[in-house]
Symmetry: C2
């Protein structure tokens, strides 16, 4: 039954040869009583020609419709001058059809596959098995397979052992809600699906596995505001006896090689930047370094002005006052400023002050702004000077709690970078290091900025004394403004792990109940260890130029965590629930 | 911090070189005032020597205990004549310790790792992170990683695309109970964890992916009588446009190469045998061909005897009468026969008739048996002749419903094969083909012998007319009497799929509700396709010589589906359950 070639493999070197294709009718058309069928398979398209001189064959071929599955035997020939199609791989040749067999018929699909225009995502997901037929979708799945294969080879070849860790496991506190699985054999108990293999990979280090990796499924039952999925895939790595510099080097080399091999792109050495510097210069711990704009702090210039909007945050130790200069931005219309004002309000900013620098030489006269009148002339000059403003620029201001200013101006920076086509490179990788260990919630409770197994760079005593001052041995990898992954050196000493748990308000009993096995493991000879996890979906998305991770997942779920194709989740019968020792609180509601 | 070498990498070529090791103190002993530390890491052991002339260093080294994590700097030297240790890879050399750093201390582990005797499995699983430190366990994990890596490379290199399919999906009827995951966003609805990616891989064929593979986690909530796990891993393969012979060839080649590369074993060509032949000759659809014994049918010789135990089944169309000849077995004591009788009763046999052939020349006189008196002389001679009995043999008889005889004598054959060391080879692979499509349950209802997506080798009409006579296009792969995996050509036409569903008693409405997406997919141009799934855990178990799949899974669960290390499953708080729209039926019961 087998094909001799994929459609995309046909080329001039096969001229005159007889070949067999198996695939789908992508497009059919008749021209001057000749029938042209474009046949499609995973590797591309090929044009097959049926001429009217063989009436029986022509009639057979004439019956096929779009998306019929056919097997065609034919002879490769060079296309006549002027009919070469440079858009397809086999475009220099065509196949003279010698026989055609219909392997399966097809009804007209719910959306056309040959001319894919504006099909709604809902329809695409419902008929994902058709959507994936589109060459651009097939390319994404092929790229994904290529990427995982290259990553695996690199890791296999550098001594990492692929070890599978359980999917049915115990809840661990990694910040998000767990998916739970009721146990049939242990009434009232539940498995949790792992948010990551974090503790298992640490235990593998305690086991002496030394270098572990896994391309691991992870699960988070979150509200899917952003581009998230209930299940996602991470390239999960852990090593023993290496420090952060070595782990970062190794990971960086892996990514650099991947880009070389798959995209023929040289990423070069990744810059390293502290968390503080990233927040200060870019308002973000995952700055997009392709955008040349930076935040400029001006609180020190505004502490004594009367304008409360600036003076308040400028005098608040938790406040920040900063500006973002957009070269040439003074030309933007008021409607665009209004748009940006709405945009930053989404990040909690109460407004967006601005100054258009029309003509510096004219002093305050040359500025256009709702706020200049509130700022003394000398302050204004100091601000303009520090910002490096030139005629034609616009300055946007943020003045609020530091978090709000960072979030708002940080996001505005990226937005403007794209709106004004300011991107200076295709790829901008970056390591961010020296994160704080903890962040305080609104209720004053401390939470781990990464996870509670991250090692601090200070002693247990210093940590207990001033936890908010403690830095962690964590490192995040950022690519084009997206957090691609992150890792850390982990705690390998029991006392330190207990100190961190205590700072997080987990008392001894709870420590023992939830993490007894980890604390046990740390007392029987745990080696120094650390690792990294990369978001595979995001990596493939970036490398394929897709807009969403849903484009690089074969069967993704919607924002409401449903699969439109299989109609999952679905209802189950009451016997099954009884066996699981649970009942419903209310009447079922289908997905 | 890094090591320069793994312990197992040290050898004579490094004589005189300074090296750094990182690992665990496996064993310590003093001899003539010299301290010997055996250091262990993933790749083996190395002996480090501390001599008393450097008192400070000796004192430091003398403080370490078993399982301490240490970093040692030292100089490689050839061991003195007579002290070479051929049992370890680095046994020709030792390391003169120049410095030692304790990276972490260790309490005395709950069981010794250097002299692993009879530690109960429960303790091993509770402290799995220590159990995995044992070199034989590390070797199994390394072998597993090697096997998956080789399989992936083979499949990558032959055009298969690794595609991930969802873990949170919809229940599909593959015979076993599903693990269910309550949905938070769709009250009263549940995801199911996949029993296999079966439907997704078929949909990928409909998508034109052409060649798919995945090393996929699968889940079955079964009672774990045999050597099963709630989650297991399969090498999952699907192809389009290939027939069963081509898929079998391809899979066979993959396994043959794997054995060549990993074990340096030549499996040769795999024999192919029909289901009927396997049942007839071996009483099993997964015969262990290393055992030379075969079942011999004798019903035709016994239809007219008065002995009802034989005559009943001999005249029952659903019955079977067969014998198993064990060469040299007449010497076995009565106690062993009693033992075998108990053994076969576990398979439903009501007894185990036997004849010891002491001296053929003496006729009935030369036979020892509780049953010869019930069998006419000519019948007895015919039986002896057909069995090929020789002096010193024993014949065991089965007479019952065919299923009972097959199960009982089939299992006895394997048991005796091992008890009498009859195995003729290390490896005996086999394809079993031409399975029935359906089997009838005790209630007369038909069930699919494989799964309902398996293509029959007859037309839809013939199938509907006499489903029990229909054969499937399935093929199972058997290795040493274990079902290693199986596959089939799938149904690619909607009408055939509906015919199979109808035979299984699934009406139109249920077909649409449960399999609407599959039936949809089949109508939009599904290609002919088929595939295979191999049990990875079993494959690794066989290749590593382990007794149980638990030995080749890093963190396995017990027979009651619990993880003794993490204490999963565990209780969850009522808020979490409320969010999931469920409540417990009874009070929780911890694992």
């Amino acid at each position: 039954m087998t094909r001799s070639h994929y459609c995309g493999q046909l080329n001039k070197s096969l001229d005159g040869q007889k070949i067999t294709l198996c695939g789908w009718v992508h497009r059919r058309r008749e021209h001057s009583r000749v029938l042209f069928l474009d046949i499609r398979d995973r590797e591309g398209l090929a044009q097959v020609v049926f001429e009217p001189d063989n009436a029986v064959l022509f009639e057979q071929a004439d019956k096929v419709r779009s998306e019929y599955v056919v097997k065609i035997h034919g002879k490769v020939r060079i296309r006549p001058e002027g009919t070469v199609n440079p858009n397809i791989k086999s475009g220099e040749v065509e196949v003279l059809g010698l026989s055609i067999e219909v392997l399966n018929a097809a009804e007209t699909p719910p959306f056309p596959l040959d001319d894919y225009a504006e099909v709604g995502e809902e329809t695409r997901l419902r008929y994902r098995f058709l959507d994936l037929r589109r060459p651009e979708m097939a390319e994404k799945l092929k790229l994904r397979a290529r990427i995982t294969s290259e990553l695996r080879r690199y890791l296999d070849d550098t001594g990492f052992l692929d070890v599978e860790t359980p999917i049915l496991t115990r809840a661990t506190p990694e910040g998000a809600r767990d998916y739970l699985v009721p146990s049939r054999t242990h009434a009232g108990s539940f498995f949790a699906l792992p948010q990551s293999p974090q503790l298992f990979k640490q235990l593998l280090m305690v086991s002496g596995i030394d270098r572990y990796y896994q391309i691991a499924k992870c699960f988070r039952d979150e509200d899917l505001r952003a581009d998230r999925q209930p299940e996602f895939t991470q390239v999960d790595i852990e090593t023993s006896f290496l420090g952060e510099a070595e782990i970062m080097d190794l990971s960086e080399q892996m990514i650099r090689r991947l880009f070389q091999k798959v995209l023929r792109v040289e990423l070069g050495e990744f810059p390293r930047m502290t968390y503080n510097e990233a927040m200060r210069r870019f308002g973000s711990d995952k700055p997009d370094l392709r955008i040349p704009l930076e935040l400029i702090d001006i609180a020190d210039l505004l502490q004594s002005v009367e304008f409360k909007v600036f003076a308040g945050p400028a005098n608040d130790p938790a406040g920040r006052v900063a500006l973002l200069r957009v070269p040439g931005g003074a030309a933007m219309p008021r409607s665009q400023i209004d748009d940006y004002t709405r945009f930053v309000s989404g990040f909690g900013a109460k407004g967006l002050a601005w100054i258009k620098v029309n003509e510096l030489a004219k002093g305050a006269e040359g500025l256009q702004s709702p706020i200049v009148k509130f700022i003394p002339e000398d302050r204004l000059q100091a601000i303009l000077q520090r910002s490096g403003a030139q005629d034609g620029d616009i300055l946007f201001f943020g003045a609020d709690k530091a978090k709000v200013v960072c979030d708002a101006l940080g996001a505005l920076r990226v937005r403007i970078g794209h709106d004004f086509n300011l991107l200076t490179a295709d790829w901008a990788p970056l390591w961010v290091v020296d994160f704080p260990m903890f962040e305080a919630g609104d209720d004053g409770r401390l939470a781990a900025l990464h996870h509670p197994f991250t090692a601090p760079s200070c002693s247990a005593e210093a940590l207990a004394e001033n936890p908010l001052a403690a830095l962690s041995r964590a490192y995040d990898i950022v690519l084009n403004g997206l957090e691609l992954g992150g890792g850390s050196i982990r705690i390998h000493q029991r006392a330190m792990q207990q100190a961190v748990f205590s700072v997080l308000g987990i008392d001894q009993d709870e420590q023992q109940a939830k993490f007894g096995f980890l604390l046990d493991a740390l007392k029987y000879g745990a080696p120094p260890h650390g690792g990294l996890a990369l978001g595979l979906d995001r990596l493939v998305m970036l490398m394929s130029g897709a807009d969403s991770i849903r484009e690089v997942i074969a069967f993704p779920k919607t924002q409401s965590a449903a699969c439109l194709m299989t109609q999952a989740p679905g209802t189950v019968d009451s016997t099954a629930l009884r066996e699981l020792h649970i009942r419903l609180r209310e009447q079922p509601q289908a997905a």
